[in-house]
């Protein structure tokens, strides 16, 4: 990948910041991205094609009289950038001053983040990607003839982010990522299983597409002959995928300082109080080695850090960006996020980085063995319609299996789990020891007792 040169991006950024100051901005910030993504797609049991995406751009935040304006462009030429500076200034001047404006951060040292860049990914050929996708597909197809892989992808990406501001921050972050996923269904005698999903994702080139193919196929086959069950309260095991969907729209939303300050969080005023089972400890760690959302600095140029959220069931901290931190008289926790190869188009938002549920000591088998009557849930549907302000949710568990007498008995269909996320977190009785990364969380399996199951 030629031309991806962070020195050049820094130069462009510095020039844009200077230009904004010259035209009257009191503060200015430039955020630049250059990224390249290469992927191979699978559709309907065959490799359907390849895709590459090349992206560059600059986003400028300028401040006039404590009011912020933002503008971006994909053209990194002098004239286009000058116009962008002017547009950002015009928008800042149209806005009313905000006395809470915290200003941009000053220059500081950034943490060393390990295992987030792999030269091998940058140099990977299309042929290698195609053969990975092919291995994933063939493993799924050869597992069982009832399996239909309907969608999948192997993808690698390289992204350079540069942040320059008028307080002296000049920061560069270079990152890579590789991922694969396969979506399968199984069909037999007119029955179609729900979609099953398996994946692997890392910041370095060590994903296992072959294993993903096999597991995705196995999951689909074991979802055949699903039965309906009755209404009951029972123990439920949530895997990482199900947990991520459920937590993102409930707990993660509720620990953002913005939601707390604006009465949108059931956790307001609960710092120091017990909000979950004492076996639950959660960190948000933007510096995690190999973390999917790890970087040196956040979207505002604050160093990434590790923040204790829940310690043995007790709420310890909220997630802050500079704006919400100023309101509460604390420091930003480095949770102002700008992400993706088109991050330059966006202004920062308050988000979790790597929301990490600390592993326990139970193996997956042990988690299952101790359940007399329960459910094993590999995904939930409809989590985005949860009530983020209260933590109340009502989701379809799919795919999911009934557990009886310590054994996985049969797949279930049309099963909803409903309740309040804090009640569920309070009822966690065991935590698995293996963790996986997905989206914003790093988590093991968890088991919660007494969950309301509606069918």
């Amino acid at each position: 990948m030629e031309e991806l040169n962070s020195e050049k991006l820094l130069e462009i950024g510095k020039r844009a910041v200077e230009k904004a100051l010259r035209l009257g901005a009191s503060e200015a910030e430039a955020f630049l991205c250059m990224g390249y993504t290469n992927s191979v797609g699978i559709e309907l049991a065959q490799i359907s094609g390849c895709m590459s995406r090349w992206e560059q751009g600059i986003g400028l935040r300028v401040v006039c009289n404590k009011a912020v304006g933002f503008a971006y462009t994909t053209l990194l030429e002098e004239k286009a950038i000058d116009e962008t500076v002017e547009r950002a200034l015009k928008f800042a001047r149209a806005n009313k001053p905000d006395q809470n404006w915290p200003g941009f951060p000053s220059s500081t040292n950034f943490p060393e983040v390990k295992d987030v860049y792999d030269r091998k990914i940058v140099e990977l050929s299309s042929e290698e990607l195609i053969s990975s996708a092919s291995e994933m597909l063939e493993n799924a197809l050869s597992y069982d003839k009832r399996v239909l892989p309907i969608d999948g992808r192997v993808q690698v990406s390289t992204l350079y982010n540069v942040l320059v501001n008028s307080n002296g921050v000049e920061a560069v972050d270079e990152g890579t990522a590789a991922g694969c996923y396969l979506v399968t269904i199984a069909r037999e005698a007119g029955e179609v299983t729900p979609i099953c999903f398996e994946y692997d994702i890392e910041r370095v080139w060590n994903i296992r597409p072959g294993q993903v193919g096999k597991e995705a196929a196995k999951m689909a086959v074991s979802s055949l002959k699903a039965k309906k069950i009755g209404n009951a309260k029972m123990a439920v095991i949530l895997n990482e995928v199900a947990l991520e969907s459920l937590l993102y729209y409930t707990l993660i939303s509720a620990v953002k300082a913005d939601a707390v300050q604006r009465e949108q969080s059931a956790l307001k005023g609960k710092i120091g109080q017990k909000v979950a089972s004492e076996i639950l400890t959660i960190y948000d760690d933007g510096t995690l080695s190999g973390g999917l959302n790890s970087a040196k600095f956040d979207g505002e140029g604050t160093p990434m850090q590790k923040t204790l959220i829940i310690e043995k069931g007790v709420l310890r901290n909220f997630l802050y960006d500079r704006y919400t931190a100023k309101k509460d008289g604390v420091e930003s926790t480095g949770n102002s996020v700008r992400e993706g190869t088109d991050a330059y188009m966006k202004t920062p938002t308050l988000e979790a980085t790597n929301f990490m549920i600390y592993p326990g000591d139970a193996s997956k088998d042990e988690l299952i063995e101790e359940i007399k009557d329960g459910l094993l849930v590999y995904g939930v549907q409809g989590a985005h319609s949860s009530n983020p302000a209260t933590g109340e949710f009502s989701v379809v568990a799919t795919p999911a299996w009934k557990i009886e007498d310590g054994q996985i008995a049969y797949p279930v269909k049309g099963v909803m789990i409903t309740g309040d996320i804090y009640e569920l977190l309070g009822n966690i009785s065991a935590i698995g020891k293996e963790t996986r990364k997905i989206e914003r969380i790093v988590a093991p399996w968890i088991r919660a007792d007494n969950v309301n199951v509606v069918s």
């Binding site: 995406r53 299309s126 979609i195 202004t347 319609s385 799919t398």
Partner: protein
């Protein structure tokens, strides 16, 4: 503009010379203005200029796709070379080569004619409208605690050329806004949302005035504070236009997207068969003027049309792109859409709705002893096997044929086909609601809707 056309035609030519049997290139020059307000303050106002192109080629039956945020000639040349060479490599692993349904070559220029062009409206006025909505939400009741509003407009032009001889210039114009608000009383927190969207122009706010939107949301969240929790189980329900729309979209529409149908959705073997009660007629229509899901040509250069999906309970149509149309022997329906040049066109819905019947609202209610009236949705999702879940933000009990007390945190679920067979009366009213739909990482602007509709029973979830 001639320069850009020449650029595109050169890319098409280059792709052909590299052995591609099909080449298409889409370029965009679009301006996006957006802003977010939180509790009466404009957080940031943003403006962006998006320049870029997408190149898609078929080589030996395999797709190659390259996208770039630049219209630089060298970059374009490199991108088409890359697309062709990647496709050539992928073709080696292909079992069934991809072919496309024939379409007529088109040369056309489509210009937007807004009464109020968002690109000519000042940022101050956009801020004012948004802040005015905010003020109306807070003024509704002191129990309102927060209000977040997003505003977005997109205006610009897309340029499309392919190796079949089609060349289309088409304006893009969207105005969208979403309001999220919460209210609190004691320990009860209520949460509500609403969206506005149009392809007509900024005049959408003349109809959807800040007062109207503010009061609607204010009333919704404040009434939830007093609402009771639903009983879990199976109950009859009257489903309002806003909820029937999202049900038709999520639970049925996605299954009728030909790529998902072929992927084994429960509709796979149902073409020409009865899957719903004879009261059910469903359309996906890209031609409704000004509607949020309307456009003249899709991103494969196929004219949008009004597609009948269910006629009197029988599946009669699927939404296709050129690839699935060829595979299934169906007509291309103009449903291939890409969010922008960063994405490849995939099958998306446009304006999807249940067609009206002949019942009045009172007639729908009168035979229900106990059930629920589902007025407004919070979100919905469905699976290929036909299970769906729709969260409801505004619902009421129905007791002895009358609307009763408000109910909160309710959601409905079930199997699409079973639920469509349960439709036993369809109202004569009709509403279309704008929304956004996510699929494969892309967001499409759509509408969905229909009349008030009665189902004999549906699974009611929530906190039983």
């Amino acid at each position: 503009m001639g320069i850009l056309k020449d650029k595109l035609l050169k890319v098409v030519e280059k792709g052909r010379s590299l052995g591609a049997e099909y080449v298409e290139v889409r370029a965009e020059r679009v301006s996006r203005t957006s802003l977010t307000t939180k509790d009466g303050k404009v957080e940031t106002a943003r403006q962006g200029i998006d320049y870029g192109a997408a190149i898609r080629v078929l080589v030996n039956g395999a797709w190659g796709f390259s996208t770039l945020s630049s219209l630089n000639n060298e970059r374009l040349k490199k991108a088409v070379e890359e697309a062709c060479s990647m496709a050539k490599s992928a073709a080696g692993k292909l079992r069934t080569p991809i072919e496309l349904a024939e379409i007529k070559a088109i040369e056309d220029k489509v210009y937007a004619k807004p009464r109020k062009d968002p690109s000519e409206i000042s940022i101050e006025e956009k801020m004012n409208i948004t802040l005015n909505i905010d003020k109306n939400v807070f003024d509704f009741n002191p129990k309102v605690k927060s209000c977040t509003i997003d505003y977005l407009d997109i205006s610009g032009r897309s340029y499309f050329a392919n190796s079949d001889g089609t060349y289309i210039e088409q304006d893009k114009l969207y105005v969208w806004s979403r309001v999220l608000a919460t209210a609190k009383e004691g320990s009860i927190l209520a949460y509500g949302r609403e969206e506005i969207g149009s392809t007509a122009g900024f005049e959408v706010f003349d109809e959807q005035t800040p007062e109207k939107i503010g009061n609607l949301i204010g009333r919704r969240i404040v009434s939830q504070l007093k609402a009771k929790l639903p009983k879990g189980g199976r109950f009859p329900a009257v489903i309002g236009p806003n909820v029937i729309g999202v049900f038709i979209h999520e639970a049925f529409g996605h299954l009728a997207e030909a790529d998902l149908t072929i992927s084994g959705s429960v509709l796979a073997d149902k073409f020409g068969k009865k899957i719903a009660s004879e009261k059910v007629n469903v359309y996906d229509d890209g031609t409704i003027e000004g509607a949020f899901g309307s456009f003249k040509y899709d991103d494969e250069g196929v004219p949008a049309q009004k597609t009948l999906l269910i006629k009197e309970g029988v599946v009669t149509g699927l939404m296709t792109n050129r690839e699935t149309a060829k595979k299934l022997g169906l007509p291309p329906t103009g449903n291939a859409r890409a969010e922008n040049f960063r994405h490849k066109p995939i099958i998306r819905m446009r304006n999807t709705y249940l067609a009206p019947g002949d019942y009045s609202f009172e007639e729908l209610l009168e035979d229900i002893k106990f059930g629920y009236y589902l007025k407004s949705f919070r979100g919905g999702q469905a699976n290929l096997d036909g299970t769906f879940q729709v969260g409801i933000q505004e619902a009421y009990e129905i007791r002895d044929g009358e609307i009763g007390e408000p109910v909160r945190n309710l959601s409905i679920s079930g199997n699409t086909l079973e639920t469509l067979l349960m439709v036993d009366a369809v109202g004569k009213d009709f509403e279309l609601w704008p929304g956004r739909c996510g699929k494969d990482g892309q967001t499409a602007f759509i509408c969905d809707g229909g009349p008030h509709t009665r189902v004999k029973e549906v699974i009611i979830g929530g906190r039983a």
